[in-house]
């Protein structure tokens, strides 16, 4: 009878699906899975993809040496990455997938505040740690405890840069321009507060542009007309920064331009060329002057994975390395139990393998978050000159 046979067919199909799902959860042995969750498509794709490429490049380096040793046993590192499209709900289901399906406890990403905040309930319930590249203090301040800031926050770099420029170049007035989304607007608000604290004269702070804008003349016209000494581009995507710089210069802006997020020199040189000379931004371990041979090797691996180097990776190189070493310090049980990991955070320290001088790599954040929830990525303030970043100075977050 056709009807019964159809019911049987469908039931079989459903059973098959169910088996398929169960099978995918079986974990292979002696592998540490690390998740990367971030935006890997759309205009901001480079943020998440750089995270992924960094993690994959680091994992390749480690696996090439037979794996990473924890408690006398070598583990292969496997990177599982998910594109959250900068969409909070995709981020949540992605985090659930990483935690509950893949059995992952340590997640690198996401890249912006909304996605990072959205997964907080999920990672708390699922007992996982995330390393967001987003700056909202709520993520890292108690009662939150499962997120660790992976880079220098804009509100940490901002004041340092403004102070430096105030002291060395005598700036008195400042203007901000931001992209019209939560991430950028928040960073702008933090920047405004920092500038106020330094008694800088804020001449423009309400201008913003939409994601996907290709012509920045309109927004820049209005900012430039306020004629500030320093123009801060808040939370700029690497794609937009050079265009903003170019628009400002073409509109006759003579002051200094800076941003607090990592940029890529190639993108800047392609799009803005010499107009970007003197542009100040924050990088990681990427400038040739300060990087170690291990970093050089990493760059080679990165190029193999991604096809070409991206300066944004300079700040994102740290996450995988520090996660693994902290687990090592906390003992193999920390592979599944993040409370051990959290305990180890407070005392953990290792030499920064990516820099020439032996700076320690550890967890900081007591000042901003009252708890250690930030990787002590060096704050490398750089100035763009003729196609490359030059290091102005290397700072760090105090504690």
């Amino acid at each position: 009878m056709r009807f019964t046979s159809a019911v049987r067919k469908v039931s079989l199909g459903m059973l098959f699906l169910a088996c398929l799902w169960s099978a995918s959860a079986v974990m292979a042995q002696d592998v540490i899975k690390i998740g990367v969750l971030g935006v890997m498509s759309g205009p901001a794709a480079s943020w998440g993809l750089v995270n992924r490429y960094c993690a994959e490049a680091s994992a390749n380096m480690i696996n090439a040496q037979g794996g990473f040793e924890i408690g006398g046993k070598k583990y292969k590192i496997e990177i599982v990455s998910i594109d959250d499209r900068n969409d909070p709900k995709v981020a949540v289901s992605g985090a659930e997938r990483l935690i509950h399906e893949e059995g992952i406890r340590y997640i690198i990403g996401p890249n912006i505040d909304p996605t990072s905040m959205a997964i907080v309930p999920t990672i708390e319930k699922g007992a996982a740690i995330s390393i967001p590249y987003a700056f909202s203090k709520k993520l890292f301040t108690p009662p939150a405890k499962n997120s660790i800031l992976g880079m220098i926050a804009s509100y940490q770099a901002g004041p340092v840069i403004y102070k430096y420029l105030q002291d060395k170049r005598g700036i008195k007035s400042i203007a901000f321009v931001a992209r019209n989304d939560s991430e950028s607007l928040n960073q702008r608000d933090e920047g405004v507060l920092a500038a106020k604290a330094l008694n800088l004269n804020i001449v423009a702070a309400s201008d913003s542009y939409e994601t996907g804008t290709t012509d920045f003349f309109p927004v820049m016209s209005s900012v430039v007309s306020s004629n500030p000494d320093l123009l801060v581009i808040s939370g700029a995507a690497p794609a937009d920064t050079p265009l903003l710089i170019r628009a400002a210069r073409e509109l006759g802006f003579k002051g200094i331009i800076s941003t607090e997020t990592a940029q890529d020199a190639k993108v800047i040189s392609e799009l803005a060329g010499d107009l970007a000379n003197g542009f100040i931004s924050v990088g990681g371990a990427s400038t040739p002057a300060i990087r170690s041979s291990y970093m050089e090797e990493f760059i080679k691996n990165y190029e193999k994975v991604a096809g070409e180097w991206n300066d944004e990776a300079g700040t994102k190189v740290y996450a995988l390395e520090i996660i693994l070493n902290t687990i090592k310090a906390a003992g193999p049980a920390a592979l599944t139990d993040i409370s051990l990991f959290m305990k180890a955070i407070d005392t953990f320290s290792m030499p920064n393998p990516y820099l020439k001088d032996n700076r320690p790599l550890r967890y900081v954040g007591l000042g901003d978050f009252t708890q250690r929830r930030q990787i002590s990525v060096p704050m490398v303030v750089t100035e763009y000159q003729n196609g490359d970043f030059q290091t102005l100075f290397v700072g760090e977050v105090a504690n």
Binding site: S41, S46, T214, E308
Partner: protein, 284 residues
């Protein structure tokens, strides 16, 4: 104020190019091409490789972008749209097919062109200073000139050539055109190629000023829809006016309503269309 107007005009002529292509496809086939922004992005990437990476002259890049996109347009029609259109009289199938192709192009871009924003050296450097506080870089002057030239050429083409008249007849009434002996299949193929070419040319010019990245397509498609709706779908003059209007509105919006320019534009658009559903110049 003068600067605001000039900014608007600059965006406006480029937008008009995009809107022309979109409105052409719409009038010929009643398809709202959701992938139009993606075609524009593809034009940008072609130029990036030809002009930026290979270092050939900009004119060559412009031609290459135009030709590549014309071919892509042809393929779109032959592989996808013709088949679906032939079978279905409903709007929704082609609309969703277009969404599918947009997603397809988006994901192909990120696989082939990567995540970085790409730009090329300026074609002409230097800034024209119109008055004390009005600036216009020469690179933008060039774009305005090329865009206007392409638009004029397009209008002349549609008015005075046999092919253009065939296309217009088809846009008026597909069935009647068929009866009059217009080869509808060939002309729709041609229409697709032409429309995609316009988008490609606009993209090629964009990359010389603003650069291009894999994720720009969707937002540009939405903008193109806005322009077409302001002017009236399926009308050439409407597309041009819609493009210019959006450029100017954007420009005024960002100087007088910073941060909320698009909200204002969208609300105005909805109210406007509620009163005048066919746009400024659309057939009522």
């Amino acid at each position: 104020m003068g600067q605001v107007l000039i900014n608007g005009l600059y965006s406006g002529v480029q937008y008009a190019l995009i809107a022309l292509g979109l409105t052409l496809i719409f009038s010929l086939m009643n398809v709202m091409n959701f992938a139009h922004g993606q075609l524009y992005v593809l034009g940008g990437f072609v130029t990036y490789y030809v002009y930026g990476v290979l270092g050939l002259p900009f004119v060559v890049a412009l031609l290459a972008a135009g030709i590549t996109l014309a071919v892509v347009g042809l393929l779109f029609d032959i592989l996808f749209f013709r088949k679906v259109l032939a079978r279905s009289a409903r709007d929704e199938s082609t609309m969703l097919l277009a969404t599918g192709t947009a997603l397809l192009l988006d994901s192909l871009f990120i696989i082939f062109f990567g995540e970085k924003h790409r730009g090329v050296p300026t074609v002409i450097s230097g800034v024209m200073r119109i008055s004390n506080n009005i600036f216009l870089p020469y690179s933008r002057v060039l774009i305005i000139i090329i865009s206007v030239a392409v638009i004029v050429f397009f209008i002349l083409f549609m008015k005075y050539t046999r092919c253009g008249r065939g296309l217009r007849a088809m846009a008026q009434d597909r069935e009647a055109a068929k009866l009059m002996g217009v080869n509808v299949d060939r002309y729709s193929m041609f229409g697709w190629a032409l429309a995609a070419m316009l988008a490609g040319l606009a993209g090629a010019m964009l990359v010389s000023v603003s650069g291009v990245n894999s994720g720009l397509g969707t937002w540009l498609s939405i903008k193109a829809f806005i322009m077409v709706m302001i002017g009236g779908a399926g009308v050439i003059s409407g597309a041009i006016i819609g493009g210019l209007m959006l450029g100017i509105l954007e420009s005024f919006g960002s100087s007088f309503l910073p941060g909320n320019q698009y909200l204002a534009i969208f609300i105005a658009l909805i109210i406007f269309l509620a009163i005048r559903p066919r746009g400024l110049l659309g057939r009522q």
